[in-house]
Each structure stands twice: as structure tokens, then as C-alpha cells.
């Protein structure tokens, strides 16, 4: 039976169609009419994967929500909550999730000050019976990089500059306001 084995040239359909038109392939294959009636969204043509060079970046966006800022503050203050995460349950609400819901409710009621909202949400959860224990040392990404910086020999200064830049880019806006404060607190004690 005649056929064309050039998988890099066109799609399966175009090759078969042209072979039939030329009279080389006598019998229409089973799938031909079905493909004709219901073609795929994209022609299955071979493409060579090319690498991206220089500053070209992929167009995929990061997914962030407004609630992520609240979550970040919660985790830095309280660590992961008192309750373990039950991933088997699709409708599971973690402590952080409940905190975020309270926070948003209070925000809708008209409060604007973030510190106040944070404290009020904590109090509301306490009223419901959830006890939140503050971490001994408030944990942030900046803290993490600082600890590693101190453990290295002080001569390696270029690396510290590199370490600082990535955390600052990833961390959302409110964290940036907190970070310089944290930095001075971290440097002064020892």
C-alpha cells in the first residue's frame, strides 16, 4: 500500500489527501472522512522547537490574587496555622483561609488600616475558638536570606547583593514596606 513517511512535511491529512488526489493511494483510509468533517483546532504540522535567546521571555502570566497579600502576612506572623491541612477533602478550609475570609469581611465593612484589620481578624478568629500563636521570630523571605548571609564569611559581598535582589522582586508590595524595617531590626542585635 502506498504512503508518505515524511512526518516533517505537512500534516497526516494533507499528505493523505494529496496522495489520493494524485491517484497513488487507491482506497480512502477509514479516518479521512471523519477528519474532514471534524478537523482539529490546529493542523498537526511538525514544528522545530526553538530556544528563546536573550531577554525573550515566555508570555505565561503568574497567577496572583489580592488575598495573597493577606496570606503572606498571616504566614509571616503565625507560620502555617495550628490546624493541619486535610487535602483529601475538596471543601477544606485551612486556618489561613478562614483568616482571609474574616479579613475581607471586615474590609467590606469599611475599615482601611491594614494593621488594624489584621488584628481585628485575629480577634474574630479567637472569638470562634481558633488560637493563633505568634512565631518567636517573625519569619519573612528577607529573614531567610539574612540568616544565610550571616553564616557565610563576611568577605563574600557580591553574593549578598545577588541574594537580596530576587526576594525583593518576588515579594508583593506590603512586604516591601516591612522589609527595610525588618532589615534594621535584624542587623542591630548582634
Amino acid at each position: 500500500m502506498a504512503g508518505s513517511r515524511l512526518e516533517t512535511v505537512g500534516s497526516v491529512f494533507t499528505r493523505t489527501r494529496d496522495l489520493i488526489r494524485a491517484g497513488v493511494l487507491k482506497e480512502k483510509p477509514l479516518w479521512f472522512d471523519i477528519y474532514n468533517a471534524f478537523p482539529p483546532l490546529r493542523d498537526p504540522v511538525f514544528r522545530r522547537p526553538r530556544l528563546r535567546y536573550g531577554k525573550a521571555k515566555s508570555p505565561t502570566q503568574d497567577i496572583f490574587y489580592r488575598e495573597d497579600q493577606i496570606r503572606a502576612k498571616f504566614y509571616s506572623a503565625y507560620g502555617s496555622g495550628p490546624k493541619a491541612f486535610d487535602l483529601f477533602n475538596p471543601n477544606f478550609k485551612s486556618t489561613c483561609e478562614r483568616f482571609v475570609e474574616k479579613y475581607i469581611e471586615l474590609q467590606k465593612l469599611g475599615e482601611t488600616d491594614e494593621e488594624k484589620l489584621f488584628v481585628e481578624a485575629g480577634k474574630a478568629l479567637l472569638a470562634e475558638g481558633v488560637i493563633l500563636r505568634r512565631l518567636e521570630k517573625a519569619r519573612t523571605q528577607q529573614e531567610g536570606s539574612q540568616v544565610s548571609r550571616k553564616s557565610e564569611p563576611m568577605g563574600v559581598e557580591s553574593q549578598t547583593a545577588l541574594e537580596e535582589n530576587p526576594p525583593l522582586k518576588e515579594v508583593p508590595q506590603p512586604q516591601d514596606l516591612e522589609a527595610p524595617g525588618e532589615e534594621s531590626k535584624g542587623l542591630s542585635p548582634p
Partner: protein, 288 residues
């Protein structure tokens, strides 16, 4: 070895299914159906043409849309992709975004692609095409083989010998009928390279349906379905969907042929109670 035993036994049966004007009935039911269905030339070709062309006029003849929903895909964790570093460049159009470094597949697009893929599979099964399920993930090889067995089709989840498709007459014997559709539950093999069968199917002009994860190359696959191929719930969902589509299509075919037999032939073959009964009985027996 399993692969050596499975393929010749099953593909070899294609030899008995002598292709006539239309696609031959399934190898398994061949015994009774072939004996009963001696063709009356004109009416036969007229009806057979109708049987084949009628389904193509409806956009969703087998109603595959009702088998799944975006919510059911979400619950089966189909939207979870690999980390952003593993992303394949050609999968970017199908990715909704990246959550804390993990790619999330756009389920709206997955739903459209899946509907096209299931529809195509159903039509191929309706016309008596041979479907081959291919995967190289050892975690799911048993599930996929059972899926294939339950819908009366074929599976190859072991080491894929080079030349199995391209040099079939030598490896499988002369006059072997190759698959009319290959369904990939996993497009990559165990070393994270594209499965050889993707390229070989394109070479042999065999259409393919494939679940492509964020680290796969969807170019050569005729009907790619962007989705998670690593989580058990996702693979189980896909197996179930393909099995249902194939079974439905075959059942529909049996029904339409029985209908034709009851309507059509008052002459030499009066509505033979044996054959529709046998066919219906087989249908009821095989369908889950």
C-alpha cells in the same frame, strides 16, 4: 513477553476481517456477524453508505459532551501541570498561568480539545477502526490494558520495539492491519523523551489522540488534549471517558445495523431473529 504475545494475537485477527466496501465488523464478533451478513449488493451498499455518512452530519452524534464537564476535569486534577522549568514551548498557548511556579492548564481549552478527541475516537470506533492505547507509564499500564480489553480494543504499554509500525510486515507478519487510531495516555516515555510511536504514527499516516502535559510536544499529535497525565484521578478519568466513547459508538453501530436488518430485507434474508438477537446479546454482554 507480553508485548510480543499481545500484538500478533490481536492485530493478527485483522487478517480475518477482510475489508469490503465498508469497514469490517469487529474481530471478536466476526464469527456470527460474518456468517449472518451475506450482502445483498445494492440495498446493502445504499444502506451502508447511509450508515457511514449519517453520523458525520451531526456535530455531536454520540453526545460525548455530556460525559464530562469543566468541573469534573477540575476535580480530577487535570489542570495541574509541571513546574515552570519543565514547560515545553509549544504548550504555552494551552497554559492558563503559573501559580507559584506550577503551571495551570486552561480547562476551557482542554474541554474543547477533549470533546473533539472523544468525538473522533467515537467515529473511528463506529466505523470499526482498530484503536491502540499506548502509554509507557508503568504506574498505569495495568489500568490502560484493562480499559482496552473492556472496550474490545488494543493496548501497548510495554517497551515499544523500533519498527513495530514502520516495519510491521517483518515484525508482525505479512498482511497485518495497522491501527486506525492511536491514543496516547502518556506522550513521553520513561526517559522523558517523546514516545517513538508519535513520530511513527505520523510517518504511517495514522491519526493520533494524545493527553499532552506541560512538558510534552503537541505538534505531531492530530488531536492533542492538554491535561495532567501524572495524577491517578486524571488518568482514570481519561481512561473512563475513552472507554465510554468507544463502547457507545460500537453499541450505536450495532443498533443501526440491527435496525437496518429489521427494516431492510424482506427477500432472501427475512428479519432473521437469530442475527439481531445474537448481535444484541453480544452487545449487552460486552457493554459495561
Amino acid at each position: 513477553m507480553a508485548s510480543g504475545a499481545v500484538l500478533p494475537r490481536l492485530l493478527g485477527s485483522g487478517v480475518r476481517a477482510a475489508p469490503r466496501g465498508r469497514a469490517a465488523p469487529r474481530g471478536r464478533t466476526l464469527g456470527s456477524a460474518a456468517a449472518a451478513a451475506a450482502p445483498e449488493p445494492e440495498r446493502d451498499s445504499d444502506f451502508s453508505a447511509r450508515i457511514l455518512s449519517e453520523p458525520l452530519k451531526h456535530s455531536d452524534f454520540f453526545n460525548v459532551k455530556e460525559l464530562f464537564s469543566v468541573r469534573s476535569l477540575f476535580n480530577a486534577r487535570v489542570h495541574l501541570g509541571h513546574k515552570a522549568g519543565c514547560r515545553h514551548r509549544f504548550m504555552e498557548p494551552y497554559i492558563f498561568g503559573s501559580r507559584l511556579g506550577q503551571d495551570i492548564i486552561d480547562l476551557e481549552q482542554t474541554a474543547t480539545h477533549l470533546q473533539l478527541a472523544l468525538n473522533f475516537t467515537a467515529h473511528v470506533a463506529y466505523r470499526g477502526g482498530i484503536i491502540l492505547f499506548v502509554s509507557r507509564a508503568r504506574q498505569f499500564s495495568h489500568l490502560i490494558e484493562n480499559t482496552a480489553r473492556s472496550c474490545g480494543e488494543y493496548a501497548h504499554t510495554r517497551y515499544f520495539k523500533g519498527g513495530l509500525l514502520t516495519n510491521a510486515p517483518l515484525l508482525l507478519g505479512p498482511q497485518v492491519r495497522l491501527p486506525d487510531l492511536i491514543i496516547f495516555l502518556h506522550t513521553l516515555n520513561n526517559v522523558f523523551e517523546p514516545h517513538v510511536a508519535v513520530r511513527d504514527a505520523a510517518k504511517m499516516n495514522i491519526p493520533t489522540v494524545g493527553i499532552v502535559d506541560t512538558n510534552c510536544n503537541p505538534c505531531l499529535i492530530t488531536y492533542p488534549v492538554p491535561g495532567n497525565d501524572d495524577s491517578p484521578p486524571a488518568v482514570q478519568l481519561f481512561c473512563r471517558l475513552f472507554q465510554t466513547a468507544v463502547t457507545r459508538a460500537k453499541e450505536k453501530r450495532r443498533q443501526l445495523e440491527a435496525l437496518y436488518r429489521l427494516q431492510g430485507a424482506p427477500g432472501p434474508h427475512p428479519a432473521n431473529p437469530a442475527s439481531p438477537g445474537v448481535q444484541a446479546g453480544l452487545g449487552l454482554g460486552v457493554a459495561p
